[in-house]
């Protein structure tokens, strides 16, 4: 059994790493990582805007953003993927590649989740910081930019990393709309071999585990550094809050 696994990895490592590239589209682990990084990077500004809208007093910003967040939280990711994949062609008239559909879905979905993390980080700072900034004459956005967000975002680094780990795992769902990523590559291997599904998907699980576990370790290390720094610098968010925020896998 271990021998089978070694053989499968030896024969197919390139497919697992980059898919059929350069003969075909880029896939495998590299595609998974590119998709994850792109979606979290693009989701971040989206999440920031949604968070600010959710904190706004204007009903025109508050209501749509709240509805969006509740929909994203209340609907399985797979449904969102189907919506984007099948709805966009209806709107635009032509199909979009699976990779793009998956990217759009993840940006919306992760944007909503990040917005809740960002909003939580802002609320956790308390009113005093905003009041102090406003009483010095800063505008609301100025206070956000110079006082609130630098603190809140710094406190949120571990949570954002955790969200990145979730994103990597969520990219596996791209398989259903034929996004050539790691799970897709594993399935291709399985279809060739036909007789060793357990071994193939065991390899797949190990790869995901190594990537996600390493990133979780990084998050823990950063979290420890932040709380050390804060005990020296006296932050405004207690360690307990940070731990609560990062408790999610």
């Amino acid at each position: 059994m271990l021998g089978d696994i070694v053989t499968i990895v030896r024969d197919n490592w390139l497919l697992l790493l980059v898919g059929q590239f350069p003969a075909g589209p880029l896939g495998g682990l590299v595609a998974t990582l590119i998709l994850s990084v792109l979606s979290i990077v693009l989701a971040f500004p989206v999440g920031m805007l949604i968070a600010l809208a959710r904190l706004s007093k204007s009903p025109f910003l508050l209501w749509p953003s709240t509805v969006l967040v509740y929909v994203a939280r209340g609907v399985p990711l797979l449904m969102l993927i189907f919506w984007v994949y099948f709805a966009v062609p209806l709107l635009l008239g032509n199909r979009i590649p699976g990779f793009l559909a998956m990217l759009i879905t993840l940006v919306i979905y992760e944007g909503c989740f990040l917005s809740e993390i960002i909003r939580g980080g802002i609320v956790a700072l308390g009113r005093g910081q905003m009041e102090a900034a406003r009483s010095l004459g800063h505008s609301y956005m100025g206070a956000m930019a110079w006082v609130i967000l630098p603190q809140a975002l710094y406190n949120m680094i571990p949570s954002i990393l955790s969200q990145f780990v979730s994103t990597i795992k969520e990219t596996t769902l791209g398989y259903v709309i034929n996004v050539p990523e790691l799970t897709f590559a594993a399935n291709q291997i399985n279809n060739q071999l036909l007789t060793q599904p357990f071994q193939v998907f065991f390899i797949l699980a190990i790869i995901y585990f190594i990537v996600c576990w390493s990133l979780t370790r990084v998050a823990v290390l950063i979290e420890r550094r932040i709380s050390n720094k804060r005990s020296g610098r006296g932050g405004t968010v207690s360690e307990a809050t940070v731990r609560a925020l990062t408790a999610e896998p």
Partner: protein, 243 residues
């Protein structure tokens, strides 16, 4: 400098301020005292519109602060009113020096170098020049509050408001903050202070306002107020303090 005319403020059904008529003259130091929940902090927070009032008018430096104004104008107005909080509210991600220079640079467009020089002078004045590069978390409460005063002064406000500046401090640190406030008063700064430090009121204040249940019950010079308060509520308050 600061005038209140028939100021009323409600939180829902609760009347927080009732018919406040009062004036802080230029160069005057006014101490607002009274039992907790009497509306002192609410009153001082109405001056820079951290609290909005329901009726009446407040003038600051000849301007009606309740007049309709754009956000920018309100921000500008606030930048002219120095405000010191009970909980210091320094920005913990910035060094002492950056706490002081942030607002002059971002709001008034002061050049970085000029702002730093000014900030160092202010730190010198509150006795904390050696802490310029420290972060707020590394400072004691008294030091933080002195930096907060320097931060407010950096905007060159014509008047300073203090909302219980020493209430969150350990007793041994109260003196250093009061000393800074005294020196400000000696330089002729217009000051309105909510405080329980009756010693400060006696030594420094030109007027004492006594508040209870959202009203100013007595306004007197400290000498008269502490020796012979007129209002029975003030008499009771003072005798409670002595015990």
């Amino acid at each position: 400098m600061i005038t209140f005319e028939k100021v009323n403020k409600k939180y829902g059904d609760y009347q927080a301020l009732t018919d406040i008529n009062a004036e802080v003259k230029r160069g005057e130091v006014v101490v607002v005292c009274g039992p907790s929940g009497s509306g002192k902090s609410t009153l001082i927070r109405t001056v820079n519109r951290l609290e909005e009032i329901n009726s009446g008018a407040i003038h600051f430096d000849g301007r009606n602060i309740q007049a309709p104004m754009g956000r920018r104008e309100l921000n500008r107005l606030r930048s002219h009113i120095g405000f010191v909080f009970q909980s210091f509210n320094l920005f913990p991600h910035l060094s002492t020096l950056e706490n002081i220079t942030l607002s002059p640079i971002k709001i008034n467009g002061v050049k970085r170098e000029a702002a730093r020089e000014k900030a160092m002078a202010l730190l010198e004045r509150v006795g904390l020049a050696h802490k310029a590069d420290a972060y707020p978390g590394q400072l004691s409460g008294g030091q933080q509050q002195r930096v907060a005063i320097a931060r407010a002064l950096a905007m060159e406000p014509p008047a300073m408001l203090f909302d219980e500046p020493t209430s969150a401090l350990d007793p041994e640190m109260v003196g250093e903050v009061l000393a800074v406030m005294k020196s400000l008063a000696a330089e002729g700064m217009t000051m309105m202070c909510v405080t329980h430090e009756m010693g400060f009121a006696r030594d420094v204040a030109d007027r004492v306002w006594f508040m209870d249940a959202g009203r100013i019950l007595e306004m007197a010079d400290p000498e008269t107020f502490f020796r012979a308060p007129e209002h029975p509520r003030a008499q009771r308050f003072l005798s409670d303090l002595r015990h």
